[in-house]
Amino acid sequence: MAIPPIAALEIGTSRTVMCVGESDESGRVKITGVGTYPTTGVRKGQITDLSQARVGVESAAKQAEKQADVSIWQVLLATSGGHIQAAVNPGMVTIRSGDRVVSREDIEEVTENAQAVQIEADRQVLHTITQSFTVDDQPGIVKPEGMRCKVLTLNAMAVHGLKNRIDNAVNVVKSAQLDVTDVAFSGICAALAVLTPEQKRNGVVLVDLGGGTTNYIAYCNNVISAVGCIAVGGDHVTNDIALAFNIPLNRAEEIKRAEASAVIDPESGGRRVTLQADVGFEERLISCKALHTVVNARLDETFRVLRSKLDEAGVLPHLGGGVILTGGGAYLRKVTDLAQRVFGLPCRIGLPINVDGLDTVEQPAAFSTAAGLALYGRLTYADRGIFSPLKNLFKGVFHR
């Protein structure tokens, strides 16, 4: 089955990214066009100004169309923000057959039960991810078919967000004369692009350090065990620097990119960095150590918040594969060192290796979400079909 090119859009807090992905017979997706544009009107992953955000979408789409030589009218949209939550819902079924052997029908029934998650009326389910089966008292069963038991249980994790917030992002895209075929959580997209099957087996947490949010997704024994979003990102680092040294945000961003480090550099002792003079801004000298202290405090705290969330979910002891950092924030100096200290686990930067065609872009980890979204589009194409563009049937994709 030939799949048409997929356009994946991420309206990030710092920039809007549009990726066009084309898939071959083997199922691999190649990014043929990338468009980026600095975002305005988005804070902490959420739209605060529809018309400003629209400009970013239009510009990024135009750029991607030109590069991939396609015309885009339908996109997949990645969403994020502090409102994104996950809830685990258990589904249960009693095996009624005389021999008490689990049949395919039983599995379908328990899956249906598990996916019927009760959430508040103002929330929308983005993904329903099936976790592992429990056969009577024995947990962690992947394929229960043919096993003998009385009760079969399946946990399903529903990732949901506030309907209005998601609709706002969809409306921005619509105002740019584009259709939205599906909405996916950014963290899940990044995981699709970055994580290897082996890492998922060993247990791993992927941390997507974005501009406005930090998304995380943890795999334990090949199953997604924790998903979430902390509404703290690179923008907070910039804001902290701006407030610490009383400088404008754009200068703070500049100095963050040039000099910031997540770990206080012992050799930075008396070193000072110069902020060049600009219109209405005198030349300033800033202590490197102070800068590192500000950045360290923020990232240390973010990782600790994340650690406590993972601890709460009970996944911390099962992360043999360590911590993988992706997103633009992963390129901050020594951020892996800091994560290693806070989590006490090996840590490295994760690139979108499951997607081709991003070899030439600068800082490929910043494109993990958009590239992963194109891959998500490829994986869910059959479910979505041509006639049901907004139907969300995201079943079992993450198994194996």
């Binding site: 902390i230 703290v232 902290d240 610490a244 202290t293 405090a297 705290e301 806070v342």
Partner: protein, 391 residues
């Protein structure tokens, strides 16, 4: 388990200096005392554990047991890293007496974190902290001053001892011995106070009064003196008045409340107690609230030791009702000295917290706040953690 171990009282030394203090209290008090030392330096930990004290290494993964190198931020992070390891040692503990020497990395950085954690757990804290000698330099003095308000915010009572004030007591000793001698004296003082609490004598300094005075008294000055031979009562008071820790009697004359412990042997005479109290009343303000207690212990035979805590900011409203006879006849458990209700707000209304309204959030002033653990994460972390930036 000994009686002390059951009492719910823990002596906790933080940092190199704090561990040394705790170890010397432990050495002079005896084996029954439950003591714990925490430090980032593996070497000093080893030295302290040689004295029979349980020791815990902080920030092992961060600092590899090499200490903080005087960096309070490292001390703070190390404490945050390993706070979980502290929990098993706090089982059944209701009151922690914490000793620390401020000015350096672990004492200055880890102490506020630990005090805050203890406060959050509903454990009462009494902190004895020392300020560095003047000769240790301006940066240490500043570092110590920065940390004090952070400790004060969460500690139930804070006793600050300026090591410089001990100098006269250290005599003309060699300079390098000064710290050791001074710390020895502070440790001796804490030991005396501890005895007063745990081995009540004829006239008891009853635990609840002590609790009220200490908890509502805020910052205190701490001093002690000793005298023997004929006229020992007068000499002890004179020595106490001369004690530089009490600002040569200045703290006594300004105090609104005074907590006095008289430690003596079986030979303590009623007239001597009267003499001590009479002389002290002459020194103190006429409306000064004096709480007195005695400890009779054979090891003090022929000697009188006085230990005083002077509270300047104490207010009469903090006075407690007279205790009932029935309660007086009971032996007060040591931990009852500072009883608290878990989770209760034990703020002393002291120390002002900076409030960060819209202005502290900068770019995020008009968006929905990101809240976690009661904190607004949009406010810069360095502000919330009270980190002072090098300019």
């Amino acid at each position: 388990m000994s009686q002390e171990q059951q009492s719910g009282l823990l002596l906790l030394g933080v940092g190199g200096g704090g561990c040394r203090l705790a170890a010397s209290v432990l050495a002079s008090y005896g084996d029954g005392l439950r003591a714990l030392g925490v430090d980032t330096d593996a070497l000093s930990n080893r030295a302290a554990s040689a004295g029979g004290m349980t020791c815990l290494l902080l920030g092992g993964s961060r600092l590899a047991g090499h200490g903080t190198g005087g960096d309070a931020i490292q001390g703070r992070l190390a404490a945050q890293d390993d706070m979980q390891n502290l929990l098993p040692h706090l089982q059944g503990v209701r009151t922690v007496v914490l000793t620390a020497c401020l000015g350096a990395g672990t004492g200055g950085g880890a102490t506020p974190e630990i005090v805050k954690a203890l406060h959050d757990m509903g454990i009462a804290t009494v902190c004895f902290v020392t300020r560095p000698f003047a000769f240790e330099g301006e940066s240490r003095r500043k570092a110590a001053e920065r940390v004090l308000p952070m400790i004060e915010e969460n500690a139930d009572s804070l006793v600050t001892v300026a090591l410089d004030d001990l100098f006269s007591d250290a005599g003309e000793g060699v300079l390098t011995d000064a710290i050791r001698v001074a710390e020895g004296l502070v440790a001796a003082g804490i030991t005396l106070l501890w005895r007063l609490l745990s081995r009540p004598g004829f006239i008891r300094l009853d635990a609840e009064r002590l609790h009220t005075v200490v908890l509502k008294g805020g910052n205190a000055r701490f001093g002690f003196s000793s005298a023997e031979g004929p006229g020992r009562a007068a000499q002890a008071v004179a020595a106490l008045r001369a004690c530089r820790l009490l600002r040569s009697g200045d703290a006594l004359s300004k105090a609104n409340a005074l907590l006095l412990g008289i430690l003596a042997g079986q030979d303590l005479r009623l007239a001597e107690v009267g003499e001590i109290m009479g002389k002290l009343r002459d020194v103190c303000k006429s409306d000064c609230h004096i709480e007195m207690g005695t400890v009779i212990d054979a090891q003090f035979d022929g000697r009188i030791e006085l230990v005083a805590l002077a509270f300047e900011s104490w207010t009469a409203a903090a006075q407690v009702e007279p205790r009932k006879e029935a309660q007086l006849s009971q032996e007060p458990p040591v931990a009852e000295a500072f009883p608290i209700q878990p989770g209760s707000k034990r703020g002393r209304g002291k120390g002002s917290k900076l409030s960060f309204g819209a202005t502290g959030r900068g770019k995020f002033r008009d968006v929905e706040p990101t809240l976690f653990g009661g904190q607004d994460l949009d406010v810069p972390t360095f502000i919330r953690r009270g980190i002072t930036l090098e300019r």
